[in-house]
């Protein structure tokens, strides 16, 4: 194979033939076109006439060129040209082959292409009979060189991991690499990593290293931040490129609990920019529902970010005992709370009973002593369902009798009367400071500033279970903060005021930290490792490399410090981790991360993942030659005068017009005719099943029904039509009768789309399994199974058996049975809404809802309705008078059905009830 750029020739010596072209040119040019012999009596008049120019008889240059082209195409075609020939030499080599895949999240975006690339490599290696080993750098195992075919069968199971290979994995790989020589194919994920260099050196010592990298850009999204009331999203891409717009979608559960796209925000990368930002403004309710943000169309863990509590702003209701607006702001019991919570919680303000329905996360009662019974009950319910009630003491609480003799349900402890004051002018002792927090306290680990002192507090009544409820105490052992769990919620009491009156606590940073620990407010920033020291976090949802959330039930808990500081790896997968009262997310992309593309040393060969396909061009060239020769035939004929007159014109026109499609007009004309026929009158229609006997019966049945309607009602339908689901428009027909036969073809997807549109826009389909005599509705019969199969893609609501008070029973005739040729009772319609209630004294439920989109039964109605041209029934129904009665009822059902379709729920209006009752004889 000889190569000329991307073009190779399998028989390049044939190209020498091209040298003959100039000679051919000269010969062809010298030889005039062959003359035509023509009988012509007028020749006598021509005798003696001389041609004016002798040169013009040569073949014109363009015809010569055409012929040259044809000959050249033949020569080139026979030389076996191949576009992008696979260069076999490069793979030649017999050393074992190590296929090293980075297999990180960044590879996941085009994993399929990588797999194909590896497969191609394996095929080639198999051809060359080289043993191959496959190692994933993100989870290295000792390489085992084996036959390529064996590896190929395992290839689909090789998946990327959602982390990047770290130094630890590199070391592990280096320790298990064999000492023998091997060549390496390195499928890089394209992200720069300083751990690569050492590995590269080692690999190069063993053999040649070839790197495969995708030139595609990679998108990644940083964790969403909450700034200024908006969700700020930062996107990165690996390589700068032209201006690109991609979408970020916020996924979450909708109020019905189904996964849904809650918001979508377009993000535009400016030309040559690698970072783009977007802000997403979401209402708090919606924001709290967001599970994850993902870059649309990117399948990698880097393109997904899980928001943790940082996006959830807790709703905190602040209620103070005395809202003294005229007092000093600093003395307000809520001032310090407001300042502490404002940055990262949504504060609610209002009366307790007004706030409770909003279901806030936390209610803070600052120095509120007594609640009314209703308030207390409502609050208790709310706490029981998971609310957190935070109470602060104060003069009012101290003065009240609440929780004095018996423990108040909304107080964690009983209180002694009056409380105490320490370190004041009238008392002994120093102001008390806080004791270090116990290990089981939620405040454990917080630093206690020395200047936090307590001068007054309410005292807890000693109690057997007091000790278990204290979560912070003074250094003399008196409880400062007590807590009691009620149901899923809790009540926490600070035994001091929320302002600086009784203690210096609200003035210190400790106050804010304590509120955070109590999850009254959410932490604004990612916690430091030190903050999480000693906590254990349970993974709730982890991401795989493709960004798909996976259940993490079987994964062990993660130490808090590791969660905050360690790089992602097999032990710390990206995902959402649940702590005691908050959740933390570890995302693949950390805040302020940066994507940088790899730069390989010049000595390393870097290839793209996919190589252009080998394309043999011989066929095309030979086809071109044939086309050129055909054109030459026409041109030569035209030139020598053999192609002239009407014949030539006809031939040329025919030649050019032949491939033109001519169905377009006919089609649209046919459509128009169909639409006119279907819409000038009400037209009943049946679905063509392909079974001519069945179709004829359906046609006869519907025409019998149309006739009956014509005689008995003001509906005057025209002749019914058979409808081809694939080609015909359905919107014209109020009712489609669809007889079921097991042999009928299943409609195409487009036809189903059309049917669903038809059903949603008010159409009705009457399914008839025609087996009411032998089978009841269901999958018991072949027809029933076929119906299930046919109707599966249809948008059919829940069904129920026609209830006694269905509108279908009284649209025109009063009916309770719906027989056709058979009299089975199983006729199914859309189920009534569950809230439909029977009003006392009314015979019918108030069912003012839609027309049912389907009526399903098996009574072979068409056969009962069918009549011939003279109105005689075609098919016998039952026996004797009973049978005739059944046919009559079948007609009545048909009339009712058409009336129902045309008038909707008109007859369900209660206005008609008296008349109906009268007719029912009640």
């Amino acid at each position: 194979m000889t190569l000329f750029g991307a073009l190779g020739f399998s028989a390049p010596w044939l190209l020498l033939g091209l040298l003959g072209l100039p000679i051919l040119w000269l010969i062809l040019r010298a030889v005039p076109p062959a003359p035509i012999r023509r009988l012509f009596p007028g020749v006598v008049l021509l005798l003696g006439l001389k041609d004016e120019e002798q040169v013009s008889d040569r073949t014109p240059w363009w015809l010569l060129l055409l012929r040259m082209l044809a000959v050249a195409a033949v020569i080139l075609g026979l030389a076996g040209p191949v576009l992008n020939p696979q260069n076999e030499e490069q793979a030649a080599g017999s050393a074992p082959l190590l296929v090293l895949m980075d297999a990180s999240w960044a590879s996941a975006a085009d994993w399929r292409a990588r797999q194909e690339a590896v497969e191609a490599l394996l095929i080639r290696a198999g051809r060359d009979d080289r043993p191959v080993a496959l190692v994933r750098l993100s989870d290295p195992e000792p390489p085992q060189f084996q036959a390529a075919d064996v590896l190929r069968s395992r290839l689909p199971g090789v998946l990327p991991e959602p982390w990047e290979p770290q130094a630890e994995q590199i070391t592990r790989l280096l320790s298990v690499l064999p000492d023998s020589a091997f060549d390496t194919y390195w499928l890089s994920d394209g992200l720069v990593r300083n751990t690569r260099d050492g590995l590269l050196e080692t690999l190069e010592q063993r053999g040649r290293v070839t790197v495969f990298e995708s030139p595609r850009s990679l998108y990644a999204i940083e964790p969403a931040q909450f700034t200024d009331g908006n969700v700020a999203l930062t996107l990165h891409r690996l390589r700068p490129g032209p201006e690109t717009e991609i979408s970020v979608v916020a996924q979450g559960l909708d109020p019905a609990g189904n996964p849904a796209t809650l918001a979508r925000v377009p993000v535009t990368f400016d030309a040559d920019a690698v970072t783009a930002e977007a802000e997403l403004s979401l209402p708090a309710e919606l924001r709290a529902r967001v599970d994850r943000f993902e870059v649309e169309g990117q399948r990698s863990a880097g393109a997904v970010t899980l928001p943790d509590d940082s996006l959830r702003r807790r709703e905190v209701a602040l209620i103070a005992g005395n809202e003294n607006r005229e007092g000093l702001e600093l003395l307000s019991p809520l001032h310090y709370l407001t300042r502490a919570l404002e940055p990262n919680a949504d504060l609610l303000d209002g009366a307790l009973l007004d706030i409770l329905p909003a279901n806030p996360d936390v209610i803070i009662l600052a120095d509120v002593a007594t609640l009314s019974t209703a308030e207390e009950q409502a609050t208790l319910d709310w706490v029981d369902k998971g609310g957190m009630l935070l109470r602060f003491a104060g003069p009012r609480l101290a003065a009240s009798d609440i929780s004095r003799d018996a423990e108040d349900p909304l107080m964690p402890v009983r209180l002694r009367a009056g409380g105490r004051t320490v370190g004041g002018a009238m008392s002994w002792g120093e102001p008390k400071s806080l004791a270090p927090f116990a290990a089981e306290s939620p405040f454990f680990g917080l630093n206690i500033p020395a200047d936090v002192t307590v001068t007054a507090q309410v005292m807890a009544q000693p109690d057997p279970n007091l000790a278990g409820r204290v979560i912070a105490q003074l250094d003399d052992g008196t409880p400062l903060v007590t807590r009691k769990r009620i149901g899923q919620g809790q009540v926490v009491l600070f035994h001091v005021t929320a302002n600086a009156e009784w203690s210096g606590l609200p003035l210190s940073g400790l106050f804010v930290q304590m509120l955070e620990r109590l999850a009254v407010s959410s932490t604004p920033a990612q916690p430091e490792a030190a903050d999480l020291e000693g906590t254990v976090w349970q993974p709730e949802v982890v991401l795989d490399a493709f960004g798909t959330p996976r259940d993490a039930d079987n994964l062990p808990g993660v130490d808090g410090s590791a969660l905050a500081g360690d790089p992602l790896g097999p032990d710390l997968r990206p995902g959402l981790y649940q702590g005691t009262d908050r959740s933390l997310a570890r995302n693949v992309i950390a805040p302020d991360a940066d994507l940088t593309a790899t730069t390989w040393p010049a000595r390393i060969e870097v290839r793209g993942l996919s190589r252009p396909q080998e394309t043999p061009l011989a066929g095309w060239l030979l086809a071109l030659a044939i086309a050129a020769l055909l054109a030459d035939v026409v041109a030569s004929l035209a030139l020598s005068g053999r192609l002239r007159g009407a014949r030539a014109t006809t031939a040329l026109i025919a030649f050019f017009l032949l491939p033109l499609p001519q169905q377009g007009q006919a089609q649209s004309a046919g459509d128009d005719a169909f639409a006119l026929a279907a819409t000038s009158e009400v037209t009943l229609a049946h679905v063509l099943t392909g079974d001519s006997q069945l179709d004829d019966m359906a046609q006869a049945g519907l025409s019998g029904l149309s006739e009956t309607l014509f005689f008995r009602t003001s509906v005057e339908p025209s002749e019914p039509m058979g409808v081809n689901l694939e080609t015909d428009e359905l919107a014209f027909f109020p009712l489609l009768y669809w007889p079921i036969t097991p042999s009928q073809p299943t409609p195409s997807d487009e036809a189903y789309a059309k049917l669903n549109t038809y059903l949603r826009s008010g159409g009705m389909i009457l399914f008839d399994t025609r087996d009411g005599d032998v089978a009841s509705f269901g999958a018991a019969s072949p027809n029933g199974r076929k119906l299930q199969e046919l109707a599966a893609p249809l948008d059919i609501p829940p069904l129920e058996r026609v209830p006694q008070d269905h509108v279908l029973t009284r649209t025109f005739y009063l009916l309770q049975d719906f027989p056709g040729r058979y009299a089975a009772r199983d006729v199914w319609v859309e189920a009534a809404p569950p809230d439909a209630e029977l009003i006392e004294g009314m015979p019918f439920r108030n069912l003012n809802d839609n027309v049912t989109p389907v009526v399903i039964g098996g009574n072979d109605w068409a056969a009962a309705w069918a009549m011939d041209d003279r109105g005689n029934p075609l098919v016998p129904v039952g026996r004797g008078f009973t049978g005739e009665r059944q046919r009559e009822i079948a007609y009545r059902f048909g009339v009712n059905l058409v009336m129902y379709v045309l008038t909707g729920n008109y007859k369900s209006d209660q206005v008609h009830v008296p008349a109906l009752l009268d007719r029912l004889g009640q």
Binding site: P32, F40, G645
Partner: protein, 291 residues
């Protein structure tokens, strides 16, 4: 067997051709409504012409007694002179006439035969004597003569371009020459001059194929005469067109001039136009000579 079969087949063909030609000629002739044309003077004839007083030398038998009885004088009943004219025809049977440029077009020979025979039928019905020039078929009257004419017309002459036969022309007869007149014009000239000398007048009908009139040829071509006796090769037929047309026009002008000098009438007819119009012209031209 085979010669007999071939003979049979050929004779069938020939036999089929004659009635066809006759029928077509009859049909064509039927489109022209004939009127009896008298000589508008007294003479032998069947139709009454005039009564005149008896003159010296009239035999008594010639007296019309019924007319004479109505007056004192004696009258002779004269009949109109009805004399049959002799019409001699020459139809070009040369090979050049057997040419048609397109498949569904009649050859010139066919058209010429048709026209000539149709004219003969008309003339015979008109009571004229019709025959061929030369000695083969002298002018006679009667439908028998039409059959003979048709037979004579269907023979093909082997030579490429036929020269008109000018022998045996009856004095003061009328003549009709039908040909494409593509051959040398010398014999035509001689024939017409000879005819003019004998007081014979007539019509020249030139029958041409449309391609001979338009010369729609292109490219390198060898043109051959129908008998292949002459050929002309050109490299660019299209270039010859103008000169060819000039020569054709010149030839027509010469024929026209010749006719005008000798008192004949000239018309050019193309095979792609209606035969009827040509027949009408011939009839008018022949008829116009009367009187």
């Amino acid at each position: 067997m085979i010669p007999a079969l071939a003979l049979r087949q050929k004779s069938e063909e020939e036999a089929a051709r004659l009635p066809a030609l006759l029928a077509r000629a009859e049909k064509l002739a039927g489109t022209v409504l004939l009127g009896e044309h008298g000589r508008r003077r007294a003479g032998l004839g069947d139709d009454f012409w005039q009564y005149r007083p008896l003159q010296q030398g009239d035999s008594l038998r010639s007296i019309d007694w019924r007319r004479s009885a109505r007056s004192d004088g004696q009258f002779v009943r004269e009949h109109e002179w009805q004399i049959a004219q002799s019409v001699i025809l020459w139809l070009d049977q040369g090979a050049s006439m057997r040419f048609s440029s397109e498949k569904d077009l009649q050859t010139k020979a066919d058209r010429a035969r048709l026209l000539t025979l149709a004219a003969s039928i008309l003339l015979v019905r008109g009571g004229e004597r019709v025959g061929l020039t030369g000695w083969t078929l002298p002018p006679r009257r009667g439908t028998e003569q039409i059959l003979r004419l048709a037979e004579a017309f269907t023979t093909d002459s082997p030579e490429d371009y036929a020269a008109p036969e000018a022998r045996g022309m009856l004095p003061h007869a009328r003549a009709m020459f039908v040909s494409d007149f593509l051959a040398d014009l010398g014999p035509v000239e001689a024939a017409l001059t000879k005819a003019a000398d004998r007081g014979v007048r007539g019509v020249l009908l030139q029958v041409l194929d449309p391609s001979e009139e338009a010369f729609p040829f292109q490219g390198r071509t060898i043109f051959e005469s129908m008998g292949k006796s002459m050929a002309h090769e050109t490299l660019k037929a299209g270039d010859l067109r103008a000169r060819y047309l000039d020569r054709l026009a010149e030839r027509k002008a010469r024929l026209d001039h010749l006719c005008r000098v000798t008192g004949w009438q000239y018309q050019c007819h193309h095979t792609n136009t209606s035969a009827q119009s040509a027949l009408l012209w011939v009839y008018r031209a022949m008829d116009g000579g009367h009187g």
